[in-house]
């Protein structure tokens, strides 16, 4: 295999990894606050649809991207309502949200199937894109990819060095201590859910605005679930999430290229690759990990005080 094959493949890996990266970062943010949101797949679809329709109507992809994020936050707000207000089971609520979100996006998106919208186009970074190898892999993309390089660092700084970040982690680790420390735990969890949902919505928006530029049913094709798995792979570390997302982007891009090249391997077997890799990566990282990386109170509701 030559460099002519590899360079575009690596660049494509970064591009197709970006929507998964946004979704993974969003889920990390939510899980850090102790809330497990399995609605990622549905939230991504709604984000993708909202962004697509907004862009089609307004002609502005930037507005579309922002609306995609807002739609993600609104939908994940339902999860907040069920789990934070009504003390519902987080696993089941997330599943319900996925069933609902995927259905709603397919339902509302039916009139738009096959239509195209203006989206984001590559915007090489002036000097950086001239760096041999790295330039064409990392700095020859659309602006949303560059934003996704910055978010993990911001999240890392937020969790490590800010009051609110530490508070959010405390709520995810040991709510009784957070309550005793005077933190408004439910408010923190709301922030975790809404900000996380917004990032997941951005991931969906990336799919329809920069990755495909058109609308089809089932656009996210399991990427939301892969993101949930990558959170575990990343040990809840935003920087490690980048590695995982690009690994997946690489497999997806590789599999698409093989199909385009017309191999004799049936496409259904090639399409298995990302899912099989998810299982392998998940099993390997769970086995290697200590089993203590997850926020300790993940998935446990906070009972209202009597």
């Amino acid at each position: 295999m030559s460099i002519e094959f590899f360079l575009p493949l690596l660049a494509a890996a970064v591009q197709s990894g970006t929507p998964v990266l946004y979704a993974t970062l969003g889920e990390i943010f939510t899980e850090k606050s102790g809330v497990l949101n399995l609605g990622v797949e549905g939230i991504m679809m709604i984000g993708a649809l909202a962004a697509f329709v907004t862009t089609m109507l307004s002609g502005s992809p930037i507005l579309g991207f922002l609306v995609g994020g807002c739609a993600g936050a609104v939908l994940s707000g339902i999860h907040g309502l069920v789990c934070l207000v009504f003390q519902g089971n987080q696993v089941v609520s997330g599943l319900a949200l996925t069933i609902f979100g995927v259905g709603l996006a397919d339902y509302l998106g039916t009139p738009y199937i096959g239509q195209a919208a203006p989206g984001f186009n590559p915007l090489p970074v002036p000097i950086l894109s001239k760096i041999p190898f790295l330039g064409s892999v990392f700095f020859n993309h659309d602006s949303l990819v560059y934003i996704s390089y910055i978010i993990p660092m911001l999240m890392w700084l937020f969790f490590r060095y800010t009051r609110w970040g530490l508070g959010l982690r405390a709520v995810g680790e040991y709510p009784p201590a957070a309550i005793a420390g005077g933190l408004r735990v439910i408010s923190y969890r709301w922030v975790g859910i809404l900000v996380g949902g917004c990032l997941v919505g951005f991931g969906g928006a990336y799919l329809s605005l920069a990755y495909t530029h058109l609308w089809t049913n089932g656009l996210s094709a399991g990427r939301g679930w892969i993101a949930v798995a990558l959170v575990i792979f990343a040990f809840w570390d935003p920087m490690r999430a980048m590695v995982g997302a690009y690994l997946f982007g690489g497999v997806m891009a590789f599999q698409l290229r093989l199909q385009a090249a017309g191999t004799h391997v049936p496409s259904s077997l090639l399409l298995m690759l990302p899912y099989a890799l998810t299982v392998m990566v998940l099993v390997f990282s769970s086995w290697k990990g200590q089993g203590t990386e997850a926020p300790a109170a993940l998935g446990v509701n906070i009972e209202p005080p009597d």
Binding site: L38, G42, I78, L81, V82, V85, F86, Q87, G88, N89, V91, V92, S93, L95, A96, L97, T98, I99, F100, G101, V102, G103, L104, A105, D106, Y107, L108, T110, N217, G222, W225, V228, A229, I232, P266, S268, L269, L271, M272, Y275, A276, T278, V279, L282, V283, F284, S286, W287, G289, G291, E303, P304, D306
Partner: protein
């Protein structure tokens, strides 16, 4: 000004849980009607059409029963795993693998009599579905891999494998390029009951439902399973064989979904084709939660949700409502039921602010 305060009930409300369930259903149907109105469809007419199409005639009810069979079996399986707090989201894939196992037997034994073929298909779909539940169980126990994600990925893998088979090695040479196996021979088809359209799969449902009910109520392992589900740590201290229980629950869970796949391939479609995958495995999760994991209630809830599917087919034909509307309804039902359950063990007190 009124203020309210939430208090935990000393005794959970029993009498009103039916009322809450009913209220949640009504609310989710009303919200679904709003969704229809958003798309410019007449909401009231549509809901009348939905219910008439589902429960309005003898034929409709029969259709509901046929669709309730796979949903019931998948849901019964899901409920076993959920009892143990193991989140098996993989009924869809286990169903697909059961259908594949049954089809393999049907294609291998075209000339054998039914009393050889059908029991072999039953056994093979049990093994295939059970196997697809066994691997996630082992990965969970040995490698701590999260079963939610593994079973979900296994759904995608099983469905793609089914696609591979019907587009490739198992494709009927005279199907004019359609992805499907050849039609099963008569001995590989589960028969119809009398002169109805119902098949004997219903009997399998009733028997498995009773067996699972008895298993949980009267057997030692069933009791251990329930106890472990309520408190894993306490169960381990009490020396219950937690690992073996997890494996048992996941294998049974997958095997029941596998049977659903077998019945759907054999009795309903008479062959294997991609259209066998219609999301019964996900509906099963809604049903299981709606029925609070009780086998009898699962029967009622699967009939109800099968009814929504049948009614939705009418909406598709008459009002061009996309099939995805079913997902909206099921998602809303589950969400409203989750919210409603809050009132079973909490109450809200209204007080005047001083």
């Amino acid at each position: 000004m009124l203020r309210f305060k939430i208090r935990k009930r000393q005794e959970p409300l029993v009498w009103s849980s039916c009322l809450i369930l009913f209220g949640a259903l009504v609310l989710s149907i009303a919200l679904s009607a709003v969704m229809l109105a958003l798309q410019g469809k007449p909401p009231l007419d549509a809901m009348v059409l939905l219910f008439k199409g589902a429960f309005g005639s003898r034929w409709a009810v029969q259709d509901c029963l046929i669709k309730a069979v796979p949903i019931f079996l998948c849901s019964l399986g899901v409920a076993i795993a959920f009892r143990l707090q193991i989140w098996n989201i993989g009924a869809e894939g286990q169903y697909a693998l059961g259908a594949i196992g049954a089809t393999w037997v049907a294609l291998q034994l075209p000339d054998q009599p039914w009393f050889v073929v059908l029991p072999t298909m039953l056994a093979m779909s049990f093994i295939a579905g059970g196997f697809w539940g066994f691997i996630p169980a082992i990965l969970k126990l040995r490698m701590r891999a999260n079963e939610i994600i593994v079973t979900l990925m296994f759904n995608y893998l099983a469905i793609l494998f089914l696609d591979f088979l019907v587009y490739g090695p198992w494709k009927d040479p005279i199907s004019f390029g359609f992805p499907m196996t050849r039609e099963f021979s008569a001995s590989a088809i589960v028969g119809k009951i009398g002169n109805t359209e119902l098949n004997w799969g219903i009997l399998l449902c009733i028997l498995s439902g009773i067996a699972i009910g008895v298993f949980f109520r009267y057997t030692r392992i069933g009791y251990e399973l329930k106890a472990s589900g309520e408190n894993i740590r306490a169960a381990r201290y009490a020396g219950l064989p937690y690992d073996r229980l997890v494996i048992l629950a996941m294998v049974l869970s997958g095997a029941l979904a596998g049977w659903a796949g077998f019945l759907e391939a054999s009795a309903t479609i008479n062959r294997l084709q991609p259209s066998i995958i219609v999301g019964y495995g996900y509906t099963a999760i809604v049903v299981a939660w709606l029925a609070r994991l009780n086998p009898l209630y699962i029967g009622i809830a699967s009939f109800l949700l099968a009814g929504f599917r049948v009614g939705l087919e009418n909406l598709q034909l008459d009002l061009q409502v996309p099939a995805a509307f079913g997902g909206i309804m099921e998602g809303l039902i589950l969400l409203t039921v989750l919210m409603g359950s809050f009132f079973i063990d909490h109450r809200i007190e209204l007080r005047k602010k001083l």
